[in-house]
């Protein structure tokens, strides 16, 4: 299956891209996607602890079970206001 990934804030600077796609085996979780992205963009890995994960417009935890065509967003802590 394939998911769509968007990076926000300085994660976009770290990866050099705003969006990408990832091919994953069935029953993959957000954590599997993270590992694949860390392999592709090693500079993201140190951000793992504070990294926020969303699927669609809702926050999800690393154990979230992905589905084909999910829209995933990865970003650092928010700073509105």
């Amino acid at each position: 299956m394939s998911v769509h990934v968007t990076f926000y804030s300085f994660f976009r600077d770290l990866t050099g891209v705003a969006e990408t796609t990832a091919a994953l085996p069935p029953d993959s979780r957000l954590s599997d996607l993270q590992e694949q992205l860390f392999a592709r963009y090693p500079q993201l890995r140190p951000m793992q602890k504070s990294m926020l994960l969303a699927v669609g417009v809702d926050y999800q935890k690393p154990d979230f079970l992905l589905r084909d065509q999910d829209q995933v967003a990865l970003f650092p802590p928010v700073q509105g206001g």
Partner: protein, 135 residues
């Protein structure tokens, strides 16, 4: 509960917002908060902040917070404006208004909203140094 959520690069037009306020005759309290860009960010002089949002998610997360506000307090209206893009020092980046029967709940809800927003609503800021932003 009346809800208005505006996420926009436009200047915050406080006067227009004040004029479009609706306060029912059973509402006794209006709390308004304005967050302005300060001239220093973590010790460095800046000229502006550049705001970015994941807009559909920001709007959804604001709505989730408003659902909580609606459950906890008898609020009649919440209006929220957050600017995007470059916001110069001294300009407001955030405007929040809460209308309630009494002041305690209006203050509580306004503070809850701002505190939680800073935890959950996907908006980020980047300082713009003074030198690269001629005034």
């Amino acid at each position: 509960m009346r809800r208005q959520i505006i996420i926009s690069p436009d200047l915050i037009d406080e006067v227009a917002l004040v004029r479009s306020r609706e306060v029912g005759s059973d509402m006794g309290a209006v709390v308004n908060f304005l967050g302005c860009v300060r001239g220093q960010e973590t010790g460095n002089e800046i000229a502006a902040l550049e705001y970015e949002a994941f807009e559909p998610m920001a709007r959804h997360q604001f709505n989730l917070l408003l659902d909580q506000v609606e459950k906890r307090w008898p609020i009649s209206s919440v209006r929220l404006v957050h600017r995007l893009g470059r916001v110069a020092v001294g300009e407001p980046s955030l405007w929040v208004e809460v209308v309630a029967p009494h002041r305690a709940e209006a203050f509580a809800a306004a503070q809850f909203l701002i505190d939680e927003m800073k935890r959950t609503v996907p908006i980020w800021k980047k300082p713009v140094a003074s030198a690269v932003f001629p005034s």
